[in-house]
């Protein structure tokens, strides 16, 4: 029916197209995905909340709204009550805040669109990273410049391991940036303050049970004399950041 030449062309052409598609997929999936996958996910939120305004201009510290992140695996999305701390008086009639007011009256939580998400078989713990003095911005990017928050880092396992295998290149000495630890935003100076945290969980006060090593101090034991240069290396501190069951349990 078709000429032999045409038949051959279809076969060879199909093989070439298939091979190119396979290469593109492999490169795209294993090469590009690791660095750009999920990055830039910027969904519409039910309330047009601006981190740029609240954090960047008004200098409200992250933990004011995300209170409890230092003590909990899950970084809490603020309750409507937290919004209403100020917005009962500030812009109380703003139409943009109607969703917040309705939620406050009905008790039905606002359904924010979740941006940062690791698979359900990964157990990421915020408090451990906060106590290890990892800055919020290391993973979430320059939140104080984002009018609408988007994902800044890929949150893939390869990306986690980049840091866990080679922390000295990415963390030690580079912290802190935004002042999670001093409570002062963007205060790069006075790095010594960063060693002044933690054991904040109420249950630990009085018992001083170390959850992470090293212990940075508690209400019972004073801060060990630390300098920035003396912050122990995570691996030497026995944190075991490459153990599978650290995250997959």
């Amino acid at each position: 029916m078709f000429s032999r030449r045409f038949d051959m062309g279809v076969k060879v052409g199909g093989a070439v197209v298939g091979a190119v598609a396979a290469i593109v997929f492999l490169v795209g999936y294993f090469g590009v995905r690791n660095s750009v996958a999920d990055v830039g996910y910027r969904p519409d939120q039910p309330v047009p909340f601006s981190h740029k305004l609240h954090t960047g201009e008004l200098q409200i510290q992250c933990q004011y709204c995300h209170a409890g992140v230092e003590a909990s695996a899950h970084s809490p999305v603020p309750t409507t009550q937290t919004c209403m701390n100020c917005h009962t008086a500030v812009k109380a009639e703003s139409p943009k805040l109607k969703v917040v007011r309705d939620s406050y009256e009905s008790g039905q939580p606002i359904e924010w669109a979740r941006i940062h998400k690791v698979p359900d078989y990964v157990h990421f713990n915020h408090s451990r990273h906060i106590r290890a003095q990892i800055d919020c911005k290391s993973c979430h990017g320059p939140i104080e410049e984002m009018g609408v928050v988007s994902q800044f880092k890929p949150l893939t396992m390869g990306w986690c391991l980049d840091c866990h295998r080679n922390p000295e290149a990415l963390i030690v000495g580079a912290r802190p940036i935004s002042g999670v630890f001093t409570g002062k935003l963007h205060a790069v100076k006075d790095l010594l303050d960063s060693s002044y945290i933690f054991t904040p969980i109420a249950a630990q006060v009085g018992k001083s049970t170390p959850i992470t090593v090293p212990q940075f101090g508690s209400y019972d034991t004073d801060i060990p004399p630390l300098t920035v240069a003396g912050i122990p290396h995570p691996k030497k501190a026995g944190i075991g950041p490459e153990n599978c069951s650290t995250c997959h349990y």
Binding site: G40, Q61, A67, P119, T182, G183, I223
Partner: protein, 207 residues
């Protein structure tokens, strides 16, 4: 093959490779998307379980965190019993634990003050924070003024815990010990020693 089509093909291929290379090398945000990221193994990635603060279709109101029975007290939580107006009771009820003046207590107090108080009262407690200036809120008091410095620790604890005027209660956000640490730190900003309570009620003095 048509000779004239060849260059176009090569140019397209070159652009494609260049584009990929740029994406890989940059590793930055190449685009913004409102589409949720692709889940390749969504059976595993999104298991049907309750995740804190996530919606859950199992319940009619979609709250995966169920409302506790009325009157429930969370483990370790120490709810504050007094209301905003119980000023007199506050002087006797709130017993200063006399936290030691250690480096940790001061640093912890500073940290909590900067997080929760500085939004309005500013880092120096003079209440001219960016938020206050922008909103030009009237009546947020300078915490270093004499009237405030003269308040007892128990009274300040009461204000943090129960709120006062515009200020809401922070009992749910700041733990009890942290509140006393904040007061310790605030005293250094005020430059006063401070009394634990009204002299008539409790005799212990802050260090």
């Amino acid at each position: 093959m048509n000779v004239r089509k060849l260059p176009i093909l090569w140019i397209l291929l070159g652009l494609l490779i260049a584009g990929f290379t740029t994406l890989v090398l940059a590793g930055q945000i190449p685009w913004f998307s409102k589409q949720p990221p692709l889940e390749f193994l969504y059976n595993m990635d999104l298991t049907f379980k309750a995740i804190p603060q996530s919606g859950n279709t199992f319940f009619a109101d979609r709250k995966s965190l169920r409302d506790p029975v009325a009157g429930t007290i969370a483990r370790g939580a120490q709810p504050y019993a007094l209301g905003m107006g119980d000023i007199d009771a506050a002087e006797t009820e709130n017993v200063d634990p006399n936290l030691p003046m250690t480096e940790f207590v001061m640093a912890r107090g500073q940290n909590r003050f900067n997080v929760f108080c500085a939004a309005c009262h500013n880092y120096d407690a003079k209440s001219l924070s960016k938020l206050v200036k922008r909103g030009s809120w009237p009546g947020i008091p300078d915490l270093t003024r004499e009237q405030t410095a003269a308040l007892s620790n128990a009274r300040i604890f009461h204000i943090i815990s129960a709120g006062q005027n515009l200020m809401p209660s922070y009992a749910d956000k700041i733990s009890v010990t942290d509140r006393w640490a904040i007061i310790r730190y605030l005293r250094t900003l005020q430059g006063v020693v401070g009394t634990a309570s009204n002299p008539s009620a409790v005799t212990t003095q802050a260090q």
